[in-house]
């Protein structure tokens, strides 16, 4: 089974809140010094799922990413984990692409492949928290899409059976291939790259495609970011102080009763 996985490089979501800064004028996050960006968590789950399907059924895993030069590190990590090939869509014109343009660029890159059966994407990215690009890719490729998926039960050359998360449970769906799935973190624990993979990644040549090479015309964004800010939080906490911590515990209960919260 030939599988395409879309990956995005994002700021490390574990940046401590004190180090998280925004340039409001530029409407951008200021990358904290010394904290390297990482592969989006859900994308790592999607890649892991692809690698397990390949181990089971054979075939090829290709990762595709849209991003600046630095995104190459994320593609290298994907190869180190076990992906067979990578495509890097890199064009300054696409640096601030909205989800519509991103979906268009990724689907154009996927269309350059000879063959694929399944596209796996993370259910959303941890920076924009949008959860929409993968569904746009599905529309552009004319694929049925299911998201968010917590489990792939059964896969053959013709179809996959997967579990889609719904409120208080899940739906079991049979999906004809080719198709696109949005993978959630419940699915698996992504592997660490083995040493052999790290060496393969070091040697890997990653082709770069530009907007012009993908036949993308002038981008026409559909969504405008008007403002980006960090909510200033003044600590307004009322700290309970007492002679002993036991006493503080008691007083906390009384406070909550006073505030009619319990």
């Amino acid at each position: 089974m030939d599988i395409v996985v879309t990956v995005k490089q994002v700021p490390d979501p574990d940046i401590p809140p004190t180090h998280f800064k925004v340039d409001e004028a530029a409407k951008k996050v200021i990358p904290p010094a010394g904290v390297a960006p990482v592969m989006n968590g859900y994308d790592a789950n999607a890649l892991e799922a692809a690698l397990r399907l390949k181990e089971q059924l054979g075939g090829k895993v290709t990762v595709v990413s849209l991003g600046p030069d630095a995104a190459r590190d994320t593609l290298k990590r994907a190869i180190a984990m076990g992906a067979d090939a990578a495509i890097h869509v890199n064009d300054p014109a696409l640096n601030d692409a909205d989800s519509t343009t991103t979906a268009l660029a990724l689907s154009a890159a996927i269309k350059t492949l000879d063959h694929f059966d399944l596209v796996l994407c993370g259910r959303q990215a941890s920076d924009t928290d949008g959860g929409q690009v993968h569904l746009g890719v599905a529309q552009h490729l004319g694929l049925p899409a299911v998201s968010p998926v917590q489990k792939i039960d059964d896969a053959s050359a013709e179809s996959v059976t997967a579990e889609r998360i719904v409120e208080d449970g899940y739906q079991r769906l049979k999906i004809k291939l080719p198709a696109l799935l949005g993978v959630s973190s419940e699915m698996n624990e992504p592997r660490y790259p083995p040493l052999k993979g790290i060496m393969a990644a070091g040697r890997a040549q990653i082709p770069v495609l530009t907007a012009a090479e993908l036949g993308l015309n002038e981008a026409s964004p559909k969504v405008k970011l008007r403002r980006l800010y960090v909510e200033t939080r003044e600590a307004r906490v009322e700290l309970i102080q007492a002679d002993s911590l036991e006493d503080a515990g008691k007083q906390l209960a009384d406070k909550l009763r006073e505030a009619r919260l319990v």
Partner: protein, 325 residues
């Protein structure tokens, strides 16, 4: 008369609370944008729900019954949603950011070649333009967007919007609508609802007691359970705790877990990592019990005690037991 189109994927005899929030916001928005409020009601066994939508202030209901034993497939829903959007040609389309809308919304927006903002926490209209607020970077920052194409498609974060407690009921006009051309590439085999595990469900709970790594280990989890039992609360946990296997992954609150919006959220040994805070931005009153007075959680707390939870929590639980006696 562009108006607002609401897309409510539903099933069974009752409208979900999130549908009531969706209608509340849709009616409010239509007052600012002008035009009628149309709702697409799509699912299985839903005829009885049309009148309740009218009762909440919807002008017109488009009814799409899949007439299938299992819930309709995502592709069928997309197809009826597209048909409804083309018929109503609204200024804005609202969905719930849950199973009924978080994937349908983006798919619909791309199908209509328009823009979408997902997981919104506030909407307002400025000079006729819809401004959409949503948390980004796991809640570390807030973004405001507008959609430059028509319609604006928005999915609303559950429990971030108020249900209208005194709606103006309408005699909603009801019209059947069907899919334009749904493919059969996706077949719904079954839907499995997980059994409730005794206590209230995390996502709907009014009171939640959550524990973090500061508890020290799974042997101490019973302190969380006991406190929750006294309060009739649901229990939650941080990712560190569920990753370590102290409690079931379903209890995880945060970016990769449940988003909750209780009236009271009590944390024990939780430092307040961004990942966790992302899930509790809707909590109205946070209580923090933590050894480290500089912990981030205190920035979000209304009440706090700094100190060893092992000394604080038993006395806290005991006193609550007395108060609620």
């Amino acid at each position: 008369m562009p108006g607002v189109l609401l897309i409510a994927a539903a099933s069974g005899e009752q409208l979900s609370p999130t549908t009531a929030e969706l209608v509340g916001e849709g009616v409010r928005l239509s007052a600012d944008l002008g035009g009628p409020v149309t709702a697409l009601l799509a699912g299985t066994n839903i005829q009885g729900l049309a009148a309740s939508l009218g009762g909440l202030g919807v002008d017109k209901v488009l009814l799409a019954d899949s007439q299938t034993p299992t819930p309709p497939s995502p592709e069928w829903l997309l197809s009826v949603a597209e048909a409804a959007a083309r018929q109503a040609s609204p200024a804005a389309i609202l969905l719930t950011h849950g199973a009924g809308g978080r994937d349908l919304g983006p798919s619909l927006a791309y199908r209509l070649e328009t823009g979408i903002v997902t997981d919104a926490t506030a909407l307002r209209v400025e000079d006729g333009q819809l401004i959409i607020t949503k948390p980004v970077f796991g809640g570390s920052a807030i973004a405001e967007f507008s959609v430059s194409s028509t319609p604006s498609v928005v999915t609303l974060r559950p429990r971030a919007f108020e249900v209208d407690q005194a709606p103006s009921p309408k005699e909603a006009q009801v019209e059947a609508i069907g899919p334009s051309a749904a493919s059969d590439a996706i077949e719904v085999l079954e839907e499995i609802r997980e059994q409730a595990t005794g206590g209230p469900r995390l996502k709907d709970a009014k009171v939640i007691v959550s524990g973090g790594r500061g508890l020290g280990g799974p042997d101490n989890w019973h302190y969380v359970d006991e406190l929750a039992q006294v309060l009739g609360a649901a229990t939650g946990a941080t990712r560190a705790v569920t990753d370590a296997g102290w409690v079931a992954p379903t209890l995880q609150v945060g970016l990769t877990g449940a988003t909750v919006a209780p009236d009271l959220y009590i944390t024990i040994g939780i430092s307040g990592a961004v990942q966790h805070i992302a899930g509790i931005s809707g909590a109205r009153n946070v209580v923090a019990i933590n050894r480290d007075g500089d912990a981030n959680i205190f920035k979000y707390a209304r009440f706090g005690v700094v100190g060893d939870w092992k000394q604080i929590v038993p006395a806290f639980t005991q006193r609550l037991k007395e108060l609620r006696g």
